[in-house]
Structures are given as C-alpha cells and as structure tokens.
Symmetry: C2
Subunit: 258 residues, 2 copies
C-alpha cells in the first residue's frame, strides 16, 4: 500500500500556499479539502496609502499569468484611480478614503477574487509606527465594507467576489522555493529582481503595453518598484497555487481512501 | 465696546468640549459656528471587545441626563447584545463581529447620535499592545460601516444618525473642571467615583431600575465598573456640552458682530 511522506506533503503545502503545520493526516485533509478558486479577474493588492499597489491579472489555458492592469498609486495626491482625498487620519476621513477605494476597485475591475496581503501586527521594532496603524485602519475598513456587501449579495442571491487574506510569508517562501533562490525575501531588492526574471522568462505576460509601461518607465515608480513587485508576486503566486492544488488534490485523494 | 478675554473663551471651549487652541477670533468663530446636535437617543460607547460598554441616554427639559440603557458586555462570550462571535482576530472574523455589533446597536437603540471615544494611537508604552490594535480594528470597521450607510441614506434622502469621535482628554478635562476635582482622570477609580457622585447628586437619572441595577449589582460588572463609568461620562458630558453651546453661542455672537 503506497504511503506518502510528511516532508512531501509539506512540500505540496508550500507549492499550494497552504499552512505546513500539523500531522500527516491533517496535511492530507487540508490539501484535499481546501477550496479551489477561479483564476480569472484576480486583483492582488499590496496595501498602502502613499504606495497602494495593485496587479489585476488572470491565468490563461497554459496556466500562464496575464497582467491586465498593474500600478502603484499615491492616494494622498492626484492618482490613477481618481480618488480624491486630503490626508487626514481621523476615522471619518479614513472611512471616506476606504469607501472611495472600495467602490473604485469594484467598478474599475469587477474582480472575481481580491487578494490582500495581511498587514503585520507587530513590526518587529520597538513601537508600531503610526503608518502601520493607518494602513491597518485601511485594511480593516476594506474588510468591513466587503463583508457588509457580501451579506447583502447573499440575501439577494447574487454572485460576489472572494476576499482572501494572504500572509506575506506564504507568498515569499513559495517563490523562493520555486525559483530555487537563497535570496532573502524580506529584502525589497530581491523581490524586484525576481519579478524581472519572471517577466524576462515570459512566466508573466502582459495583455497590453500600458501595464508593462508603468513597470519600465513609471515616473515615480522607480523608487517604488518593490510595491509593484509585491502585488504581482501576490497575484501570480496565488494563481499558481490554485493550478497546483487542482493537480495535487487528485493525487493526494488516493492516500486518504487507503 | 465690551470685549472678551481669551482665557474666558478657553473656559467656554472646555465647557463645550471644543478645542481650546488658537487665537481669540478663532475660538470665537469655533464657538459660534460649531454645530449643535440633538440630545435625545444618544449612544455613548467606550469601545472594547471583552469590555464593550454603552450608555444610551437623553437629556430632559431641565437638561438632566436620563439613562435608558447602560451596560458593559464581553463580546467573546454570551452577552446581552446577543452577538455570537468566536474569538478570532483575522480581518474577516473581525468584520463579522463589527457588522453584527453595528446592526444590533442600530436595531436595539435606533440612536440619533453615536459617540465613540477616540482610540489612542500610541499607548505611551514601548509597544502598542495587540489588544489596542484589535480594538482599533473594531473602531475602523464601525466607522467604515457607518459612512457607507450614511452615503446610502443621503442618496435615499433619509435621516441617519451622527457618529462623532470624542477625544478622551476633552471628556475628562470637562468633568474635572465641572466637579472642581484635582483627581487624576487617567485613574479608573476616580472616574468610577465621579459617576457615583453624579448618581448620588441626581445629576444622572434613570429611566428604569434595570439600567441602575447593572451598575450596582452586575455580576462581572464589579471589576469593570470603570468601562461603565466611561460610557456614562462620554454620553452625559457630551449632552451637557450641547446645552452649554446653545447658551454661550448666543452670548459670543455679540463679540463677533463688533
């Protein structure tokens, strides 16, 4: 009777973005039971206020990632999302910003899946910077708006996008293992370098010149390429997880039955 | 030509919960232009998750505060607001908690004004405790839900409650000056003591026995009286500001005209 090693199951969890903790039967259950989401109209978001980055993409039949729209925006200035907001971090003003952002993302992209990188609770330094609290506020508000709308859509029996919270660690450890690189992912430079390699290696394609233009020439994008890299790594990594999960799920079912 | 002293205007600002910073003409403008809100069906909230305290009250014709409903609830357990939530601080789970809380408060009280004590950004100690971040999340989510509903109500041209963010400092400095006490308001005990005095001095009245019962006999309320005291001080202090503002506004107009 064929058996499967725990280490192999842990590797599958890494390739599918799942948690690697637990016993063998728990990992098997997790791989077989985890939901598989649609990989079209996926909006990967690297949250920020002065550096809000999004990567809107889909997976084609060959499981390649096609980027439709990709940018980093400063929401405190004139921006490509036409959000008008004067920098004021009172709760009521942050609510205004989050409602504008929430409505704009839905109207502009009509996404099937929204991926938000989970905001760190502790920044590892002595005090949590004010900015972390502010971006936390934005994250919280976007979640509240999403789940309030989700409730309405359930009552009206209409389809509504998924909103998934991804841990930065799962995204970066995935890419480190797939690209077999020792580069430390906490370093912004290595993440930018990685996306360059994915583009050069045609692992990431572009639906239009404009999306690539911003990455290559965007005026202020130069210093903020890491935020663009992050939103692309979030979206493309997650879509590859779904493809892997489809594959390994069937493979693993055999071990559950026995 | 009668003039008014800056110090007197600063005192008026303290009695009306307004900021005391700025020049004489700025303070005068602030006193005369600040909106006066209705003081019926006022819901004062001292935010918390394990200690969520609310004080639902109105001001009667003699400007006395009448408490209709007053409690402190642990939202992670069976509670008087019938909120069912298992303790999990992921954004999606916090969104569920805030939506339940938001809907319950509106359905149960149908408030005209909601007062929320502004959450501190910095706790003054080395790191911001996880709990501060969690309560910050709840605050942010409640604001987002409120302003999203407010937008809908404006579109449908229907009345919608006010949501006001109060700084703890303005509430406590007001009560310290009105009760002429040197007690330090950062001490929970002095705030509990103050509410006792207000109740004994019939400055705070009760519409029903039940609201007072919880303060005097609530099983777990004993150690959490300070949260009940805070929600009462928020609501009652704010209502007295409105009454004072009505009075001083007319008084101050004369100085503006000259």
């Amino acid at each position: 009777m064929a058996t499967v090693k725990l280490s192999f199951l842990q590797h599958i969890c890494k390739l599918t973005g799942l948690s690697r903790s637990g016993r063998k039967d728990e990992l098997l259950r997790r791989i077989v039971d985890s939901p598989i989401y649609p990989t079209s109209r996926v909006l990967g978001i690297d949250l920020g206020i002065k550096n809000f980055s999004y990567c809107f993409a889909s997976q084609n039949e060959d499981s390649k990632v096609i980027i439709h729209n990709w940018s980093v925006e400063n929401l405190t200035e004139k921006n490509g999302l036409d959000i008008q907001w004067t920098e004021d971090f009172q709760p009521s003003s942050m609510a205004d910003l989050s409602i504008q952002l929430f409505n704009t993302l839905h109207e502009k992209f009509n996404p099937h899946v929204i991926l938000m990188e989970r905001q760190r609770y502790r920044s590892g330094i002595a005090t949590i910077p004010e900015w972390t609290l502010r971006v936390n506020m934005l994250e919280s508000m976007l979640y509240a708006l999403h789940y309030a709308e989700k409730r309405n859509s359930i009552e009206q029996k209409i389809q509504y996008p998924f909103l998934l919270s991804l841990s930065p660690k799962s995204t970066y450890s995935y890419w480190a293992s797939v690209l077999n690189t020792k580069a430390s992912f906490s370093k912004k430079k290595s993440r930018v370098q990685m996306v360059k390699e994915l583009i050069d290696g045609q692992k990431i394609l572009f639906e239009n010149e404009e999306a690539l233009y911003k990455w290559n020439n965007g005026s202020r994008v130069e210093f903020k390429k890491d935020d663009m890299a992050d939103s692309a790594l979030i979206a493309s990594g997650w879509m590859r997880w779904q493809a892997q999960l489809k594959h390994y799920r069937n493979f693993c079912k055999q071990f559950l039955k026995q």
